[in-house]
Structure formats: structure tokens, C-alpha cells
Amino acid sequence: MIIEAVTQGSSTVMTILSIFLALVVGGILILFTDPIVTKAWSSFFSDPGNALAQSWDSVSFAYSQMFEGAILNPSTVSAAFHGGSIAAIFYPLSATCAQATPLILTGLSVAIAFRAGLFNIGAAGQWVGGAIVATWLGFGVSLPIVIHVIVCVIGGFVGGAAIGWFVGLLKAKTGAHEVIVTIMLNYVMYDLLSYLLSHPAMLQQPHQTNQIAPFIANDANLPHVGGPAPQAGVGFLIAVAAAAACAWLLSRSTTGFQFRTVGASPSAARSAGINVEKSWIWVMLLAGGLAGLSAATVVQGTNTQLTFNSYGTYGPDGITVALLGRAKPWGTVLAGLLFGALHVGGTYVAGATLNQVPDDIVQVLEGLIVLFVAAPALIRAVFRLRATSGTGMEAAAKGWNG
């Protein structure tokens, strides 16, 4: 069974092989950054053993540092045995989860829309919508403790959902293509954010010239579980809960059945009495809400002051994460964790090697993984797998709307 899955290249196996191949290619790139290795290779013919040994040392050091930074550092384990902090063992993992949190949520936003046949490029704009509402509720409103947190998180969801709903509405009523609409709305939202952050009457912190919002109130912050920021907190639990909700919704609810039918065949959905346009509106509302939640976990969790650059690359990364997770909720969680680990590990390795291995290597790895996932034929050729029909890769490779 497992052998068959491997030789025929099931989608999980293909993803793992893609990651493996990306690490191999990334390793070769690391070699080029190391002057000791390049010097050893220049005298390859006189001492080939040295060249290979130096190469191995260099790559294994970089990747082991990455592992220590993102997952587990053995020295913290031995320290714990000699009276050190036990919690410190989990700091790397906790940082990874913290990094993964917003990625998982924007990934879910893209994934759920994708299952209903829509390509949500607009997670970035929806993120901004959620961030604006969550931030305003965070510093502008006084509410009792606990309730303040909850209201802000819900506000983030609503802020994103409103933008998503508008996209769905435009598509349903006018037939406008969601890709165009979401791309354009991203710019609208960026500029709206810039405007709001430039006026103290709006979101700008008083007595500031920079585009920056006030800190949100302490009682609106999401509590951290694994230590101080950037450690994981309640935000990560929200992301996992959202994934569980999406998984249930998609596979076990009538709404999800409706979404999936619309995504797989709008004409069959119509003939079965499903209101396709209404489904578009609802799924975009949900997708926007998830992107808004992503914003809430950031502005209430990891960095509690909204700036013009806060939206970072959460939107585009969400597309990548959803693609890697094959638009499945739990797949998206795993892909988000992988990307979170790469981010954390990349920063760590850059520090450990005094920037000789720059953290840009992580972006190269991410790009390679997605490239290989999107080109299943390449992976099959490299690992000599037999072709099968319908590994689920085609949809990912083909993009949206057939």
C-alpha cells in the first residue's frame, strides 16, 4: 500500500519529495556562499576528499542550525537536565507556531475560496480591512478585560469579511472576475490604510509623523502561552480552531457541500438547485473573515502597533501555503507550520553564520518547494515515478477556473 503510494506518486508523497528536492537545491546554493567550500573545490583534483568533506560540513551546519532555531535545540535539552529552564526547550517550536499563525489563516482564506472555485488574490486587502477594525477597537474603545480581546478578534473577522463580501457581491451581481477585483481592492485597501495612518483623527498615533497607529490596549492583547512575543499565543489556537472549523464545514456540512459543488461544477450545482451566486458571496465573506482573523492575531498578538508595512506578505504567502496544502484545511496548517519554521530557522541561521548564509535562502527554499509542487512531472522524472492520472496535482498546477 505504502510502496504503491510512493511509486505512483500520491499527492502527500509528491509534496514531501518536492520539499526534499528543494532542500537539495538549496544546499547547493549554500555551498556557493561558503568561501571555505569554494576554496576546497578549487583544489578538488589534488584533494577531492577535502572538497566533499567541507561541502558536507557547510550544508549540514546550515540545515542543523535551521533545525535548532525552528524546532529543537539539543543544548536546551541538556541544560534542562542540569537545572535549566524546561520551557526553553519549546521556545523554537513556539516561535515557529507564532510565525505560522497568520500564514495559516490567510492560507485558509485562499483555500476555502479555492474549494468553491474562486481564486482569492485579495487576502492582503482583506487582511488590511481586519487590521483596521481590530486596531481601532483595540485602542479606541474601552471594554472589560477578556471581552475586549474577544470583541477585537471578532472585529478583525468582520473587517476582513466585509471586504470579502464586497468581492463576492460584485462577482455575483455583475459577473466581475474575482481575480481582477481582489487585486484592485488590495491597492484600495493599502491606500486606505496609508490615509488612515496619516491622520491623527483617524488611526495615527498622536504627535507622530510616521504612519503608525497607537498601541492597542493591554487588555486587548492576545495572551501568550509560550512566553513573551514573538512566542506563540492564543493566536495560534485561533488558527488551529479555524482550520478545524473549515475542515468540518467543507467535508461535513451542507454549506461546504454546496461550496464544493459550486467549485467543481457550477452548471451541475445550478441544475441541483444550488444558488451559485449566493454561494460565491458566502464563501468570499468567510474567506475575507479568515484573512481578517489573520490580521487580528498579528495586531493583537505579535506586534501590537499597526504600521503601514504590517500587512507584509501575508496575502501572497497565503496563496503559496494554500497551494502547498492542496487547499485542504489541515494541509494548509502543515504548510503554514513549514513556512513558519523556515522563517524562524532562516533568521536563526543567518545569525549563527554571521549572515554568511543570508536568510534570503529561506525565500529561495519556499519558491523552490512551490515550483516543484506545481510541476509534478519534474518530480516524477527526478525520482523516476510512474505517472498516474488524478493525483490532485493538476488543479494546483493549472491554477484557477480550469
Partner: protein, 528 residues
């Protein structure tokens, strides 16, 4: 050119798709290859065309063994193939399409010789009565003419043997007649033809010899004079009822009333023009007509998939303003014309497809939660009750054969408590065994008191099922008849009127847009 296939064997894993098949096609012969879906016809032709290499056996042309390793070799050997799905560039003209890959050039630098291409096309078109305009854009031509473009493509590459893979599946009865005329003139020109089909009548009408294959083996060779029953029995492996036996209808009160229904097509032109009819419970109304006379739009309007004016009521409830969902809930069962597009979601499992339009109702859902166990149980029961051949209810429905896909739709739509059943082309593309099954199920619905409407362009189907026949022509119902009307008279009605029918041959020679402007049929001008 004499073509001979000897002992061709092709295995896919444990499945033997072709088991020592022998086939001889004499020069100037139309050889029919008759078999059910999945009998191995297409595999055999792919072997002949070099798309698949056989495990055993050889191909001989004029008694000389040839090796065909690719379509290129096949073309060089004089074999031409017209696939079910055409390989044409829609934005190119006919001449450009047929010359693609064998471009005629002149002068230095290989300038395209358009003039010669045009004259080549015209010459072939004239020689075999194909009537194709070399300058027409392929995308704007009807399917029947596109098929002729494919034939010209093969002829231009000097094909002596033409393989036509299920060529009539996409054609209207009129277009089929035209194709047969062309096939005869090709035969007279010394070309031989392999005609692949599972339709008995067509095979009997056009073939010189019929080879029947079943489960990868040749089970017999018969002349076209063989009875349909014998051919069907050979094909399916058991005796088949070509026409289901049914008791006379016992119609009760009127259930479905359609009054003055008018529907527009995509371009806003009226496709259905003021149609009125009634269907009683326990009665099958067959709507006959050549494809494209408003039947598709009529069905979609009855389901609420397309805006319409006029009224539709079922058991006295006015459904004119109801959504599709409400109409389905009001008790309409719907078997759509295009099962893959409208009836099923190919990527979904058989079980999911079994509840495609009832997934949100008890017992399959409680609140917004799906009842997966219940869905699975119900699907398992339906699969065995309707004899759907699938390895499990979790199998994606898109991997089933056409007949089994249709059984999934029929099972879903007939297992409900229907007041009315609307089935459009319910057996299109199915083999005789599946047709028999679907027909029996439809008659069973009638006998349970359901008002049944069947839309079909196949006369056989209309006769087999109908208790009453309505004929549609240019968006109107031009007459209601009893099922004892002769096929000739029905055919004339479908063509509009007797006068209209006589002028058909004239119309065919004209480009389609001009033909449309001829005066339409007058209502009630029937041919009895």
C-alpha cells in the same frame, strides 16, 4: 487498399482489451465495428492508428505487413482517423485547418499557397459531395460540417481507409443522413471505411459488413440484413428487449400544466414561442423534434434554470416564479440532457452525486450538518437497486462508464417521491443494455402515477416510451399525435411540414444563415 488486422491482442494489466482480434477491410467496403461501450473498439482503432502498440498480432496492408508506431506511420500507410472530439483550430478557416501540417507552399521562403489549398479543398468537397466552404471559420460551423472538415483533412493526406469513431454521437438525425450520403460517395470513390458505433439502426443502414465485438473478442460477423435483436444479443451477450413492454397507460388527472411558455436563448432570440401543454399522472408525453428547436430551453425553463414568461403549475401549485430548488422540492425529478456538465460532478464520489440535489434535506442532513453515514447507506442501497457498476460508493463518478453515470442520475432522480419527471435525452450515448434498463425505470415511474415528460431526438426512444407525442419545431409545438403515427409522418412533422420537408435538400445546399430565413412552418400544417 486492403487492410487486415491479424490476431491483435492488447492487455492493460489483467484486463484484456483486445483478445486476438481479426478484422479484414476490403477496398471500397464500409465495415462496421459494433460493440458496447468498453468492448474494446477504441483500443483496436488506437492500435491501428499507432497510438497504442499491440502486445501481439500484426497489421497488413495489401497483404504486406506494416509497422505502425505512430499516427505519422498510420497516415503514411493511408489510414485516416476522424476522432469523436475534433482536432480543429476554431479561429482558422476550413482551408487553413485542413492544410495544417501539410502546408502547400510556393516560391522561395515557403510562402503559403492559399490558392492551391482552397482549390484542393473545393475539389475534394465536390468529388465527394461534402459541400464545405473553404473560407468559413471552423468555429462558426455546425458540428456536422466540422466533422466533414476532419474528413477532408484525412482525404488531403491521401487516406484510403477512413476510421470514423462514433461519428454520429454528436450529430442530429438530419446530419447523420448527410454523413451516410458522404460515406456512400467515399465508398464509390474506392475508399474503405471503418465505422465504429453502438447504434444498431445506423450500422444496419450503412454497413456492408458488421463485425461485432464483446469484451475484447470478435463474437461474430454478420451482413447488414441481420435483425436488430440478433445484433443486440451478440453485442450484449444475452437477449435484449429493444422496446420495453409496457401496459397501456392509465392516466389520472392533470398534474403538469404549461401555459403559453416563452423562453429566450443566450442571444435573446425567442427559442420557445408560446408553448402550452398538459401532462396527466401516469402518462408519458414524448417531445420529439430535431435538436435545436427549443427543447433544451424548454426543459431549462421548466426547471427554472432560464427566465421565461407564461405559467408552469404542478398539481395546481403555480411554480412560475419558483427557484430551481423550490421546483425540485415541489416534486420535479430532472434528468438533464448533458449528464457530465449538468447532471453530475465528475470529481465527486458516487455517494455525493447520489444526493447532489437532496443533500440539505433529512435524512441526509440535520441542521447544517451532513449525515455522512446516512448518505453512504442510501447510496449503497441505490447502487445495488439500480445496478450501478462501481467498485465502491466512494469512487469518483467521472471514472464510471457513460451508462453507469446515467444510472447514477436516474437512481438519484427516480428514488424520490416525484410528482413529475422530466428526462431529456435520457439514453444518449448509452449502449442497448443500459437503454433497456433506463426505459424500464421510466415506465415504472409512469405506472406509479408520475407525470412523465421525455425529450428526445431519437425516434426509437419516442416510440418506445411515449403515450402521447408532441412535436416541436422552431420553438413551437406543431402537433400532438398518438404513438401509432408512422415514422415517415412523424419525420415530416419534425421537419416542420410536408412542404418544408421537400425543400430540405435545397436548404442544405445553402449556408445555414440563409436557410434560417426561409419561411417557417405554419402551425397545424401537418402531414397526415
Amino acid at each position: 487498399m486492403k487492410l487486415e488486422l491479424r490476431e491483435i491482442t492488447k492487455r492493460f494489466g489483467s484486463l484484456v482489451a483486445n483478445d486476438h482480434i481479426d478484422l479484414v477491410v476490403q477496398p471500397g467496403e464500409i465495415r462496421a465495428l459494433l460493440g458496447e461501450n468498453g468492448a474494446g473498439k477504441t483500443t483496436l482503432m488506437n492500435v491501428l492508428y499507432g497510438l497504442i502498440q499491440p502486445d501481439e498480432g500484426e497489421i497488413l496492408i495489401d497483404n504486406e505487413p506494416v509497422h505502425i508506431r505512430s499516427p505519422k506511420d498510420a497516415i503514411r500507410a493511408g489510414i485516416g482517423m476522424v476522432h469523436q472530439h475534433f482536432m480543429l483550430v476554431p479561429v482558422f478557416t476550413v482551408a487553413e485547418n485542413v492544410t495544417l501540417g501539410v502546408e502547400r507552399t510556393r516560391g522561395f521562403g515557403g510562402l503559403l499557397d492559399r490558392k492551391r489549398t482552397r482549390s484542393d479543398v473545393l475539389e475534394l468537397s465536390e468529388q465527394f459531395g461534402l459541400q464545405v466552404n473553404p473560407d468559413a471559420l471552423v468555429g462558426e460551423l455546425p458540428v456536422g460540417i466540422q466533422q466533414r472538415v476532419e474528413i477532408i483533412k484525412a482525404l488531403l493526406r491521401d487516406a484510403n481507409t477512413l476510421v470514423l469513431d462514433e461519428p454520429t454521437a454528436v450529430l442530429t438525425p438530419g446530419e447523420t443522413e448527410d454523413l451516410f450520403r458522404i460515406m456512400r460517395s467515399l465508398r464509390e470513390g474506392g475508399r474503405s471505411i471503418v465505422f465504429i458505433s453502438h447504434k444498431l439502426k445506423e450500422v444496419q443502414a450503412i454497413a456492408d459488413n458488421i463485425t461485432i465485438i464483446r469484451r475484447g473478442q470478435v463474437v461474430g460477423e454478420r451482413p447488414p440484413s441481420t435483425t436488430g435483436a440478433e445484433l443486440a444479443a451478440l453485442m450484449v451477450g444475452r437477449a435484449v428487449q429493444l422496446r420495453v413492454s409496457k401496459e397501456p397507460a392509465k392516466p389520472a388527472g392533470v398534474r403538469l400544466t404549461v401555459h403559453n411558455l416563452t423562453v429566450a436563448d443566450e442571444r435573446g432570440e425567442p427559442a420557445v414561442r408560446g408553448v402550452s401543454f398538459e401532462v396527466r399522472g401516469g402518462e408519458i408525453l414524448g417531445i420529439a423534434g430535431v435538436q435545436g428547436n427549443g427543447q433544451t430551453e424548454l426543459c431549462e425553463a421548466l426547471l427554472g434554470l432560464r427566465p421565461s414568461s407564461g405559467t408552469v403549475s404542478l398539481d395546481g401549485n403555480d411554480l412560475s416564479a419558483a427557484t430551481t430548488r423550490d421546483r425540485l422540492r415541489a416534486g420535479i425529478g430532472y434528468v438533464p440532457e448533458d449528464r457530465q456538465e449538468d447532471g453530475l460532478v465528475g470529481a465527486f464520489s458516487v455517494a455525493d452525486n447520489m444526493v447532489l440535489d437532496v443533500y440539505d434535506r433529512p435524512p441526509y442532513a440535520s441542521g447544517i450538518a451532513l449525515n455522512l453515514d446516512q448518505i453512504k447507506t442510501a447510496a449503497t442501497e441505490l447502487v445495488s437497486e439500480y445496478d450501478v457498476r462501481t467498485s465502491s460508493v466512494q469512487t469518483p463518478v467521472g471514472t464510471l462508464s457513460g451508462g453507469n453515470q446515467q444510472k447514477v442520475i436516474v437512481a438519484r432522480e427516480l428514488s424520490r417521491d416525484n410528482k413529475m419527471l422530466l428526462a431529456s435525452q435520457p439514453t444518449r450515448g448509452l449502449d442497448v443494455g443500459s437503454i433497456e434498463f433506463v426505459h424500464k425505470q421510466i415506465v415504472a415511474q409512469r405506472d406509479r402515477g408520475v407525470a412523465v415528460v421525455i425529450v428526445s431526438s431519437e425516434l426509437d426512444e419516442i416510440y418506445a416510451l411515449s403515450d402521447r407525442i408532441a412535436v416541436m419545431y422552431e420553438g413551437r409545438i406543431v402537433g400532438f399525435r398518438e404513438p401509432d403515427i408512422s415514422e415517415a409522418d412523424l419525420g415530416l412533422l419534425m421537419a416542420g411540414s410536408s412542404a418544408e420537408a421537400e425543400s430540405r435538400s435545397v436548404q442544405d445546399a445553402l449556408p445555414p444563415d440563409q436557410a434560417l430565413e426561409l419561411p417557417g412552418a405554419v402551425e397545424g400544417d401537418d402531414a397526415e
